[in-house]
Symmetry: C3
Subunit: 126 residues, 3 copies
C-alpha cells in the first residue's frame, strides 16, 4: 500500500516525530516500510525520541554550520534548507517484523522541517 501523512510544521526548523502515525499505517507482518519526504527543503531522519534536547542540539548545530544567509546564489533565500535536506536525506527504510516497525526503544522517525512553517506530507509504502 501507499499512504500519506499530513504534517503542519510550526517553525522554520523543526523535528517532528511521526513514528506512531507511521506505525498505525503498517498493514503487513513482515517486510519493509519506506518513509519518503516529497519536499526539497525537508527530510526524514531517525534519532532519539526521548529527550527533546537532542532535537534542539541537532537543529542548533545544523544552523550554526549552515546559516540561512551565506552568499548563496539561489534567489529564494532558502539554500540552507536545500543543503540540510541533502545531508539528512529524503527517506528512511525501516524493517517490519510481527506487524511492527523494528525500531529500538530510543529510536523515532522524524520529519525534518528546514523551511517552515508549512503544510507538508510524508509518503509511506509497505
Amino acid at each position: 500500500m501507499i499512504k500519506e501523512i499530513n504534517i503542519q510544521s510550526t517553525k522554520r526548523e523543526e523535528l517532528i516525530d511521526v513514528t506512531s502515525k507511521v506505525q498505525e499505517l503498517i498493514d503487513i507482518e513482515e517486510g519493509l516500510c519506506v518513509v519518503f519526504c516529497p519536499h526539497t527543503t525537508a527530510g526524514i531522519t531517525i534519532n532519539e525520541n526521548a529527550d527533546p534536547d537532542v532535537n534542539k542540539d541537532i537543529l542548533m548545530k545544523l544552523n550554526k554550520e549552515i546559516p540561512k544567509d551565506e552568499g548563496y546564489a539561489h534567489s529564494e533565500g532558502n539554500s540552507d534548507a536545500h543543503i540540510k535536506t541533502s545531508l539528512i536525506g529524503s527517506s528512511e527504510t525501516i524493517i517490519i517484523e510481527n506487524g511492527k516497525l523494528k525500531l529500538e526503544t530510543w529510536q523515532g522517525i522524524k520529519f525534518a522541517e528546514f523551511d517552515g512553517p508549512r503544510n507538508r506530507k510524508v509518503i509511506i509504502k509497505t
Copy 2:
C-alpha cells in the same frame, strides 16, 4: 530487474540530474526503485531540479566546509570526496505508483560527483 545507467561527469564536483533516465527504466506499476551509486567518491541525492543555482550552492557549501586539502592521511588526495559521499549517501529509495517515480514537482534524482571528471555508473533495481 537490475539495470545500469552510464554517466560521464565533466567537472570535479557536479550534480547530474538522472531522473528521466531512471523513469525510462521503470517496468512495474507499483513498488520501489533503488538508485545505487557503486563508487566511493560519488553519491546519490534528491533535491531541486528547477533552479540550477541550488546545485551550485550545495556544491559550494560542501567545498567550503570540506576542502580538498586539509591534512588528510589518505595518499590519493581525494579524502574530501570520500567524506562528502558518506554525508550525501550512496543510494536513494523512491516509491513507484502507476508506473511512475512518485516524486513531487521540484524533486530530481541527482548523481553527485565529488572526484570527476570520470566515467561513472548508477545501478537501478525495481
Copy 3:
C-alpha cells in the same frame, strides 16, 4: 529473512567493516538487502574498504566539525554522536544479484560507531 549481527566496538569513534558478515547472511538470488542500525548514536555508511586512512580521515573531519563539547543542551554529553548519526544515516539498501551484494571493488559496508565502546548490533533484512 531478518537476522542480526553483533558488534563490539573498541573506541568512541570507529568505522567497522561488516561487509563479509552481511554477505554470509544473504539467502536470495536477487532482491534487496537492508542493513539497519538500531541505535541513535551509531549509523551505517558505504565507503572505501581498502586504505584504512579513509576511515581515519572521515572520523577526523567529523570530529573536527562536530566536536564532543560545544554547549549542547542534552545532558548525556553525546549530542555530537546523535548529530553524526543523522548526517551519516541509520541504514543502507544494497542490491543483491546472483546471490551477492552488488558492491563495487572498493565499496564496503561500515558500522559507524560514534559513542563507543559498546556492544552493538546491526539488523539485516533480505
